[in-house]
Symmetry: D2
Subunit: 295 residues, 4 copies
Amino acid sequence: MKVGLIGLGNMGRGVAQNLLNAGHELVVYNRTRAKAEPFQAKGARIAGTPQEAARGAEAVFSILADDPALEAAVFGGEGLLSGLARGAIHISSSTISVALSERLAAEHAQAGQGYVSAPVFGRPEAAEAKQLWVLAAGAKADVERVRPLLEAIGRGLTVLGEKASSANVVKLSGNFLIASMVEALGEAFALAQKSGVEPKTFLEVFQSVFAKSPIFERYASLIAGRQFQPPGFALRLGLKDIGLVLEAAGDAQVPMPLASLVKDHLLGGVAQGHGELDWSALGALAAERAGLEKL
Amino acid sequence: MKVGLIGLGNMGRGVAQNLLNAGHELVVYNRTRAKAEPFQAKGARIAGTPQEAARGAEAVFSILADDPALEAAVFGGEGLLSGLARGAIHISSSTISVALSERLAAEHAQAGQGYVSAPVFGRPEAAEAKQLWVLAAGAKADVERVRPLLEAIGRGLTVLGEKASSANVVKLSGNFLIASMVEALGEAFALAQKSGVEPKTFLEVFQSVFAKSPIFERYASLIAGRQFQPPGFALRLGLKDIGLVLEAAGDAQVPMPLASLVKDHLLGGVAQGHGELDWSALGALAAERAGLEKL
Amino acid sequence: MKVGLIGLGNMGRGVAQNLLNAGHELVVYNRTRAKAEPFQAKGARIAGTPQEAARGAEAVFSILADDPALEAAVFGGEGLLSGLARGAIHISSSTISVALSERLAAEHAQAGQGYVSAPVFGRPEAAEAKQLWVLAAGAKADVERVRPLLEAIGRGLTVLGEKASSANVVKLSGNFLIASMVEALGEAFALAQKSGVEPKTFLEVFQSVFAKSPIFERYASLIAGRQFQPPGFALRLGLKDIGLVLEAAGDAQVPMPLASLVKDHLLGGVAQGHGELDWSALGALAAERAGLEKL
Amino acid sequence: MKVGLIGLGNMGRGVAQNLLNAGHELVVYNRTRAKAEPFQAKGARIAGTPQEAARGAEAVFSILADDPALEAAVFGGEGLLSGLARGAIHISSSTISVALSERLAAEHAQAGQGYVSAPVFGRPEAAEAKQLWVLAAGAKADVERVRPLLEAIGRGLTVLGEKASSANVVKLSGNFLIASMVEALGEAFALAQKSGVEPKTFLEVFQSVFAKSPIFERYASLIAGRQFQPPGFALRLGLKDIGLVLEAAGDAQVPMPLASLVKDHLLGGVAQGHGELDWSALGALAAERAGLEKL
């Protein structure tokens, strides 16, 4: 298929590579052009604007950091929306707000274009190794048309139904579960350590008892080893996501006190200058509050 | 080995059965004698007091609900402490406070007896199926002597060191991790449901993405299916355990706001009359706060 | 002075009356015209649009429920902005977001108009009785020009400086303090009552010890007497305000876990159908969580 | 009256002085005898043990730091209980747990002695200036007999009923209200400051709007001025009290999430080495979390 891809950050790079590996014809756009150049060598074409990346494509992925970045790439004179052909499909894989996802569904529908909301679970390593788990929601026909693309970038796919923003709710809920677990791990490690149990020992028990869940085990290891750099997922992005969770929760009228608490800890982390660490640094903040080692 | 066992509740029954299965000679004591009788048929002897269960045994398990129950069984004229021979070992598998575990270590040492703190991870089904994960802490020689017993009751064993109460800290921390996850799951399900995503669908994604962790998957299923009865682990016991976590955290000077929040939700559940439901009912309380179905 | 006033809700009515009492020439606008008619009898003129209310006025008050209501009244073809003369001043007394206040300051400056942010403290009774406390921030000359108006509607005035949105930050912080106190009162009453101390008795102590602060005493009385209707300040508006607090806190990078917790309780109240009760009903929600009387 | 007084700390000294001023005959006991000596010069007698302070007295005040200190002074061979005559009354003014108050009521009743629970509100300055507010609960006749003493040490008295521990519940609830307010003030000051509003300015508004409540105004001043030393009430004592609140709340089955949150912040303060600062330092901790000045 002729595919566009907008955004060659940590996540986008892995996705682009896997689309190429699967034999698709790829046009990439990245705000900082230098990041796009390695993909030219691999056979992709570089576009100068999101509009150009969309022109002639059957489907265009967007994989950007947040709502403003996606809005900048989609709307306006050089945006994806103005370049995409009628009947072509925007595959939105960024972690964005439920509200923006709903707006995109409406605007693409009005332009006679398809919109598939397809956020992914997995850190950059997983994107590279084709180990992402992909969610997809949107019109059935659209989802089916892009299924080969979605299968090319991950280890599995869950189709959630026709309401595109459902996928965003589920993605945000998943990130909330992870953040809660990281926060809880942080408190547990702090308690263990101040009670005389080595982080390494606690980690071993955790691995034995709770084992087999790669996500949780991974974060427990990062906390036990204080490996907060380089960030697989930056604390400030975690703050953004849990902010989106609470925004969605406000709209749906769902009190989420655990999410609120975790958000305040992420916000504190950013306020204290740790926004660029991996969000497993939540664990280090818990330790600091307990009078253990400072970040 | 000649083994005593005090407490034939949901957990103790499975442990007793597996000790018999492994060929050990067993004397059991239970406050309500009727619960002990089925084990007589299987070859165990019934003791009339904890003291009697301890007399002549090389090791005695205690598997009771809480601190007061264990104190009642250990101290006093008919207690385990007065019956246990010098050199024999008390294996304490109840989920108790760090403070009581430290007291037991001291009192048994003074009496020339051994004390191995050996709390277990797993619900009653796991106890029955020999699928518990066992922690053990205490004097090395003591732990080694009772190792065959600890291996007879679970799928694995982690030895934590010589300070007996370490095992209690780790056990309590583990229960805190589970409670946090259950609470977070509750909030996530409530958000998904109020946003139009069916619990069943959310569960499928959860199973795909976070999968392979039997503990978390089990709780997600219980919440999605609203299966709060019969309780595998009663909400009021969860309240007790998180209370013990916070007690240990207070002593070690570790702020645990997530634990505090979860405790308040458990306390609300008990106050509103749901103490006998499974503690996965935390999920139902989150739903209720969101204006969804009442418990 | 020739004064316009937009918004004749619970608060606006008292303000309008006091401006008339002070001898000012008043033009009023209200979306539902019927609410404006009583003021015609008292000498005010009724405008058909916000634009018309602003035309020819030296200053125009806006006293509306929230950001969208104020945006609807200010922007667009029939909005205040298009009607206000160069040099005339918009006095913004609604409790709005810091972000909207900053936008208004910029837009009015561009149009050569003045903008004074002047939120008020006090419930509807206070507005009627000229007992509001008024904050004011904006260009010094503008604040001085409208000072007689601000003094006509309250018992006192604090001028905060030239940055208009400062007044909004302080107003929102004040509402947060009140909400925290109401929430804390709710928990304290619940504890007292479940411990056998009558709410009436607890209120007496509160009045003796913490007395002399009309705000806190008033809320303690409302909670003790379960007087949640009619609402002086509706729970759903409280939710809006604490939401704005957290928005401002996010922008300023200030973790406010107490505010987050209170917001979740307000959100729960709205989700459970109590949005139109007075926000002192936070106290009733705390009682309900404790297993006391249901709302 | 012949009065004993046990405990000449910050609070006890003011009480002792006011009892002398009112003309009562006083015997004082303090663990560190040096602190008692100044009172000898003023006409009091010094006792060598609590028992001796109680012997011959019609009533004995105890004003100590916490449960263990009071238990040490009351029970045992040299304790108050063994010295107090039948019919004489123990006036317990320490901030202690509900559970200990109930135990004291029972033990004194068994010994044929009276027990009046009489905790006080006010900081050391208030104790000195006879500005405490005194609560009293216990048998009516006992309360009436000691009424002149209770009136001699404060500006007012509330009698709460015959159940002695009611007074402790109310006292603890009051301290919880203060701690919540201090915490909320801390968050509000942090928000104001990071939004460009000077603490001094915020304090002025606070004084105007919320004014006339000496307690809250006092704490707002301490936070605005960062006057955390010397402590009027040490953070570690605040931690103790909110711990007692939560203990009482657990027993009464009242979820108090605001109290839990405040407790965790106090605990963090102690864990980070600030236990001896005034508990208004909660405000400094909120500022620190926001990336403002470190403590």
